[in-house]
Symmetry: C2
Subunit: 232 residues, 2 copies
């Protein structure tokens, strides 16, 4: 199933933007009368017939609509991005395939990367959502200082992954809330001061086992395990 994405859906009509129009009309040679599957990233999936096969602004008429309810489970990943951005892009794709509600980037004392290209990450996320049939798109948040992030309100279970001395192993946790936050530090780990600050803000230290995991592997393992606990 080939999916298209649009944010401009109203009154029975769908307008595809330039990127999606080009893909449908120029690349895939779709024509007037062909039916496409279009998603809105908010749970809606539409069968829609092309009424104007414009290569820059294709117009479609909705024939059928399916609404996928939002899960009551919300997993938020909070991450100090790695120096090599490929690893983050890869992680984002995989985490979306497995199940993710939002990703937040933080800057820590030992962070080697000070910024992320949100536009590029949004594109990767869109492709991953289409590929994996993820009807509700995850939110991608701009980079923020750790202290500023911690000062904001957060509900649900909040876990901070640490390399040593964790309060508990995620593997031994059978009951978690429907809203879970997981924070993963930079390649050089959180500083003791940062860890203490997070603990004071209500984050619990967790270990992901006795292997030395790369940042993005730790993040993906946490995403897989939390989804697993919810489904088990």
């Amino acid at each position: 199933m080939q999916l298209f994405y649009s944010q401009q859906i109203s009154e029975g009509k769908i307008l595809l933007d330039e990127t999606e129009s080009r893909h449908a009309i120029s690349v895939l040679r779709k024509q007037k009368g062909d039916v496409l599957q279009v998603i809105d990233g908010k749970g809606g999936c539409y069968d829609a017939k092309i009424t104007e096969a414009n290569k820059k602004r294709a117009l479609l008429s909705i024939q059928n609509q399916t609404s996928y309810p939002k899960s009551d489970k919300q997993l938020h990943l909070v991450l100090a991005p790695t120096k090599n951005i490929d690893r983050i892009e890869w992680l984002l794709e995989k985490a979306i395939e497995i199940g993710l509600s939002s990703i937040h980037f933080i800057q820590c004392e030992r962070s080697e990367r000070k910024q992320v290209n949100l536009e590029r990450l949004e594109k990767i996320a869109l492709a991953a959502c289409k590929q994996s049939l993820t009807w509700h798109f995850p939110e991608i948040h701009a980079m923020q200082n750790l202290s500023s992030f911690l000062s904001e309100q957060a509900s649900g279970d909040r876990f901070i992954a640490v390399c040593e001395e964790a309060e508990f192993l995620l593997q031994k946790t059978s009951e978690i809330k429907n809203e879970v936050w997981v924070m993963i530090g930079p390649e050089g780990d959180f500083s003791p001061r940062e860890y203490e600050e997070a603990r004071k803000a209500g984050w619990k230290g967790i270990s992901l086992g006795d292997k030395r995991l790369r940042t993005e592997t730790a993040a993906l393992l946490a995403v897989a395990e939390i989804n697993f606990i919810w489904q088990a």
Copy 2:
């Protein structure tokens, strides 16, 4: 902790091969008298002092030895490699970090890739083992036809991941044996004939959930979940 690898360890001496010698002596500027940590990939970790700082054949004298026992849990991944080999290289790195005993490549009817470069995969595996403190190296097996692979003896739980109509969800499985085999098909999935053949050979169909997962994501999710079940 920086680790070096050697297969030539005997009578209290360790010889580093050209790659490892160059890295230690030329790149890291280690000198006679410096102590290195050397692993043998079979559970042994040695503290060894450099006695000959040769850039092609460094010689070390063992001062201390630690032996890590092999886990009683064995996870074998059987995989039809993707057209894009980057995805397999990435998967191998991550699966080793999380926990993997062996990987077997199979060729299926719908496989787009007919071969893998074992030498390159061995290098990636070695780097991942060093990085993640994996003391027992996983076995990497050459590509084999699916039928020929299925005709070989295999013990333990054997699961074949299918896109539809699985006998059970891996997520609902709380008890698994200490030896588990997981088979993941090519991008176009197993053919019905192949699936039937595997079923007859004693493999059970499993689903990894209702998301449409890429081959390498399905494989990594299975590795994460099986390790999780064992540890829970």
